[in-house]
Structures are given as C-alpha cells and as structure tokens.
C-alpha cells in the first residue's frame, strides 16, 4: 500500500482555495460561509470515495470505510470489530491561518482510504476519517470544541449556546450553514485514534528529523495577573516613592523566563499579553494586566511552577507596594497518549526508513479529547521555521508524504488486514 503524494497535495491546494486570503494563507473561521464551503468540498470527496458520512449535532463529520468484521457503520452491529480505527483533525482555521494546520490530518485520512482502495485492502475493523467542528476556538471559544463534545466533555446544549466573538450563537450558525446533523453526541468510541498534524513548532526541523511520535499533550496553565499600584506623574514622583505595577510586570516576565529555563525539559513559559493603564508616556501606570502561559508534560512540575510564580510575584509586588489579583483563564492537566500507539508510530517510521523522535505536543489537538475514549496517538511532521497560524506555514512535500504513509501503515496495523 502506497499513498500518492500528488493526490494529497492537490486536495490541500483545492481546499486552500476556499477562504484564500491572497497571501498564501487561509481564513475559514468555524461556522462561517468559508467553513461551510470547505465542508462541502471535503464531504463531496468523502462521498465520492463511497464512505458512509455521518454528521452529528455539533457538526462533526465522520466518514467510514466498512470493515470486513462488521457492517462498517459506526454504531452498526459488528461485534468486537465494529468500532473503527479513526483518524482526523479539523478544517477550520484561525483568522490568519495557513493551509496545513488541521487540513493535513483530514486530507491525509482520505488519501489513506484511497491507498487502501488502490491496494484492494480490506481491514477487519472499519476505518473512519473525521473532521471536528471549531478546533481553533478563534470564533467560538474554547478550542477543540467539537472533539470535546464528541468525547462527552461538554453537554451539547452548552456548546450550542456559545456566543462568538462576533456575537453570533453557535447553534444558530450551525443551522444557518446547514451543518447541524442528527448523529448523537457524545459519539461512539473508536477502537483507536491516530492524528497526523504539522508540529507547529521548530523542534523536528532543528533536529533534522522527519517524523515525530507524539507522547502526549502538555498540561496548560493560563493565568491573568492584575497588578495595582499608584498612578503618578512621571516627572514629579521621586523613584523611592513609586509603587509601579509596570516594574512588577517586568520582574514577572524575567522570572517566567528564568523559571522555564531552570526547570528545563519541556517546560515553557510565556507572557504574551501585557496591558498598562492608562498607558501614557508620562504617567506611572495605575495598573498592569498580564498573562502567564505555563506548560509542562508533568503535572507535578507544572503545579510547582505555578506555586513558585505566585510566591515570587507576591513578594515582588509586596516590595513595590502593589497588590496582585490572580485569575485562572485555563488549566488542563497533561494528556499522555497510549504507549502502544506511540511505540507503533515510532516503529512504523523506523521501518519505513524515516528519522523519528518522541516529543510532546505543546499545542492542543483534537486527539487529546478523543484520548478520553480510546487508545490514541499522533504523528507530527516538521513545520518550516516552526511557523504556524500564519500564511507562511509550510511543510515540505516529502514530509507530508512521509507523514501520510506512516499514518496509513499505523492505521492498517490497528485495523488489522482481514485476509
């Protein structure tokens, strides 16, 4: 069985034409007309491949190739072989998205189906290709919403009530674009789930490695700090009498850098937002609001990093005569993928002659939601310059091919050749 990269590249190109931003990038925000256009195109391809397409009530699409051991329909009567081996990802994008994030996983899944058809392979278990609604969360927070609902992590009613940043209501938009299906959520658990995705980071490229066997997803801690001091005239207030929240914010940024560097491993720490009030050249600020994003694969280390941050900032603020209010914006524990699936991805890549390394994902993916339901893993391919969520997002064609071939062989192994 051999995937054909030209077909995969042509599909990526065709899908990228919908919501084309003219600079190499894509804008198909969830449940917009552009998202609907992408859905129609991809589902057209699914139907053309003879797959059984189901749309669920949150708009997730699951297309299934029947297995030999059952009737091949999700929820159908196939005994122990009825649950499919699923792959998938998402086709929505951020506002300034690239053409590989998400789409690669979905379109590679379709190429896997074509390669199976070409080779006349029947698998004992069904093989499914899914795309999940609103993975990016750029229009309707939170991200990974469709897979979260599929996995039973959020009630459907709550999801349908989510209000977009543009004021639209998710359920209304889903109806408007015609993609509110009737399949139930939570969806039926797959037998296993494997997702191909671009790394969206620089690690594979820097190491000169083609395939990443993803070990899990880093735990995420997002906190917002509001530091309150004393607004003062920049000219008339001696340094010793200042209570400057900007100084505390600066100390926090420096501490986050030192903390992440000292903890090493996969610890990262970022201050990405910082807003001063009143934000005037000649006024010592009254207030600084900043966010701290901490991530680690180890829950204990992550919790320790949070404690150290809080202690340090508290002491700094106290020394400056400032107050700090903390607000938790998000907190997810690390997700560990299935050891057997990780091993299989790694062994398959090696067998195919590719360089491979294990690494955690620093970004969130649908796979981390589906991991609640079944053994799950991911395959990463390099992102040039580590760039993603950007029109410049790019992965070499030979890396796309390598990733799709690894995905295909892993899926066949998990789905078992029927005869």
């Amino acid at each position: 069985m051999k995937i054909q990269p030209d077909r995969l590249l042509a599909d990526i190109e065709a899908l990228a034409a919908i919501g084309d931003t003219g600079d190499g990038g894509n804008c198909r925000l969830a449940l917009t007309d552009e998202d609907a256009g992408g859905r129609e195109l991809v589902v057209g391809w699914m139907r053309a491949l003879g797959l059984d397409v189901r749309v669920d009530r949150i708009g997730n699409v699951v297309a299934t190739r029947a297995g030999a051991g059952g009737d091949g329909r999700v929820g159908g009567d196939g005994g122990d072989a009825a649950a499919p081996v699923m792959t998938g990802s998402h086709i929505d994008t951020v506002g300034t998205g690239g053409r590989y994030d998400g789409t690669l996983g979905v379109l590679a899944g379709l190429e896997v189906v074509r390669a199976l058809d070409d080779a006349g392979i029947r698998t004992r278990r069904p093989v499914s290709v899914a795309f999940f609604t609103d993975e990016e969360g750029s229009r309707f927070p939170p991200d990974m919403l469709g897979s979260l609902v599929y996995a039973g992590g959020m009630p459907l009613e709550d999801a349908l009530d989510i209000v977009a940043i543009d004021g639209a209501v998710l359920g209304d938009e889903l109806e408007r674009i015609g993609w509110a299906g009737d399949a139930a959520v939570p969806g039926p658990p797959p037998h296993a789930y494997v997702e191909l995705h671009i790394e969206q980071g620089p690690v594979l490229e820097e190491a000169g490695v083609t395939i990443g066997a993803v070990t899990g997803v880093q735990g995420i801690s997002w906190q917002e700090l509001t530091v309150t001091g004393q607004p003062n005239h920049a000219g008339t207030t001696p340094m010793r009498l200042r209570r400057d929240p900007t100084y505390v914010a600066a100390e926090t940024i420096g501490f986050v850098r030192r903390l992440a560097t000292e903890l090493g491993g996969h610890q990262v720490g970022t201050v990405g937002r910082l807003d001063l009030h009143p934000d005037l050249v000649n006024v010592v600020a009254a207030r600084a609001t900043l966010t701290v994003d901490l991530r680690n694969t180890d829950e204990a280390v992550l919790a320790d990093a949070e404690r150290r941050l809080r202690d340090h900032v508290g002491a700094q603020a106290s020394a400056e005569g400032c107050d700090v209010a903390w607000r938790r914006l998000a907190r997810f524990e690390p997700v560990a993928f299935d050891p057997a699936v990780i091993d299989l991805v790694e062994a398959t890549a090696e067998r195919l002659g590719h360089s491979v390394m294990r690494l955690p994902s620093g970004a969130g993916h649908d796979a981390q939601m589906i991991a609640r339901m079944c053994p799950t893993g991911m395959v990463f391919v390099p992102s040039r310059g580590g760039v993603s969520h950007n029109p410049a997002e790019f992965t070499e064609p030979e890396h796309l091919e390598a990733g799709a071939q690894v995905l295909a062989e892993v899926m066949v192994e998990l789905a078992e050749v029927a005869e």
Copy 2:
C-alpha cells in the same frame, strides 16, 4: 498688603463649577465650550478689577494693572518701567483634571491685584495676570503651546494648524469659541515672570514643607522603542529558540529603574506605555513598543542616561536576537530659573515664617517658556499625596494662602512700590 484666602477659594470654587465632572474633578480641555466658559468667567473678573485685558492671536489673555512709571499697558510707552511683572498659568485642564492645576496660578494672580487695590499700593511697573492657551496639550499637542507661541518658540501659523486628537483644527476652534484675539505674538517680554503652581508631586508634603522655591524645570527625554522579534506559538517553541521582544521590554523596564536609582539626585525614569503585538495569551509577541521618559536637571547627566539606556537595550536585544528601532518623541534641555528670582522667593517665604525648600519641577509649566524672555521663577505649594491630573487633586487652604501671599510679596518687590 494681605491676600484674602476666602476670595481666592471662592474663585477656585466658581471656576471649578465649569466643566465639573461630578467627582470633584474638572474637564475643560483647551478650546472646548467648557474652556470658553472658564475664559468668560475669569475675564469677567479681570474686567471687574479694572484691568486692561488683551487677547492675542493664539488666545492667550494678559490682564494688566497700570504701573506708576508708565501708562501700564503692555507695549505702551512707559520707558524703562513699561514692561510688567507678570504672573499667570492656565485654566485649561486634562480630561480628568483637578481644580488647582493651573487655575491656582491665575486666580492667585487676581487675588494679588485685589490685595494691591485693598492696600492702595501703586507699583512703579505694571502688574499683569496671564492665562495661556492649551498648557495641558491633552487636546492639541504639544503642551505649553500658548506660552511657547507667546515666547516666539513656534510660529503662529504652525500653531493654528495643529489638529486635535478629536480631529478639530486649533485655529478653527479658536474662532468658533470666539477667543482669537488681535494682539500680536510673540508677545512683549515682561520685566519678570513668577508663577504659583501646585507641586503635582509628593516632595513638599513628604518633607513637611509649605513653600517650594523652584530652581528650574527638569530636562525631558521621551523615546519610543520598538523591539521586533519572532512571533511564535507559546506551547511549541522551546525557550532556547525564542526571540521574544517582551523579554527585552522587561529588561528595559528593569534597567530604567536601576539607572534612575543609581544616578540619584533628581533623576527619574519611567516606562509608562507598553504595547505588545499581537498581545495574545498563547503567542510569543512579534513586537513590543514601549516608551522611556527620562528627566534630569543636569543636561550632561541626562544625555549620559540616554546613552547608557541605548547601549544596554542594544546589547539585550542583540542577545535575544531582536532588533530595536528608536524614535525620539520629545527632548527638552533643562531650564534654569533666574538665581535672583529663586533667592527672592526663598527669602520672602522665610520672612513670612514659612518652611521653604529649593526643588526642581519635574513637570512642564508655562514659566519654562516665558523664561526665554525674562528673569523667571516659580512658587510651589504641596499636593496632597502628590496627586495631580486627577479629581482627587488637593492642596490645603492654608498652603494656598501661603503660596498666594508669597507670590504677592515677590511681585511687589519686583514691580517696586512707587511711593
């Protein structure tokens, strides 16, 4: 001669009713209807005192009490005694202004005239009370505009063309509110200029001193830095591969604090603005834009502080793989007031039994513009908590009285009693 604090307080109260913001504060942005209302009230008082009121082409108002040695009119024929001893300030406010900043100097000037009348004192030189257009610069930048034009520091035509932050043109607004006068600018040089103003800082209050003999105005350096790095995903980018402009900004904030503290004396340094782009919790910023406000009374020290800042930030940015672009927003050399006027303010305060200290002004004032034309000085009174440009701005009535009495006696000394 004795000023009467009740009259001064009543005038302050009456003027504060125009543009009252309901929270104890005032909003009379330059050349708005509120500013016009304030002008009418104050000029009404000037005329009631029998002063000769002249309005110049930029809207500055100069009201003059005749001197014995001449005809008492600015520009009139009075021989060597024709030039007036001038006091004044401004009656425009910032958007969230208090009731003392500027208005105190103007209304105390009128109270000096009343006290002279009460005591039947004739001075050899005329005595003038001025208020200058747009001292705050909150609506039409730059600040101290009216006194700058009066002193010949900006051509009238350039000033009339200034566009407000709300899009209005200065010359149009001046016509609209009816305050475009016909007196020429630059205006006639006074014999001397003395301005009473609230300190707008905490130094007098902290020292428990009633009167500040202002030695000059600190030199000001405003620079804007734009630090450009590499935008990256906060989860997928290892710490060692980051080029984070936010980190360089934080290092800059820390350096400004250390620099100002080390240089000591009257050196201050402030980062009051900081904007990240794209300013998202999970993105290492592409760009940080921040401002640095440095002030010192010594030009050589100020220039050295600028050099050290530039060197340090350059090295930090280079280490982080970031670029820095510098933009100069403003640069004024320190202004030294006239030694004889400073001595006179100090000696007068002591003679009246007030505690007094010499200090520089960290804020800009009309006096620094008029200092280009004649011997100039200022009298400061304490600001509670150092607070200004804020509805909570407050100065104790006994401090207002003390400042006005010192102003009155200094002016009489400079104007010379006629007989």
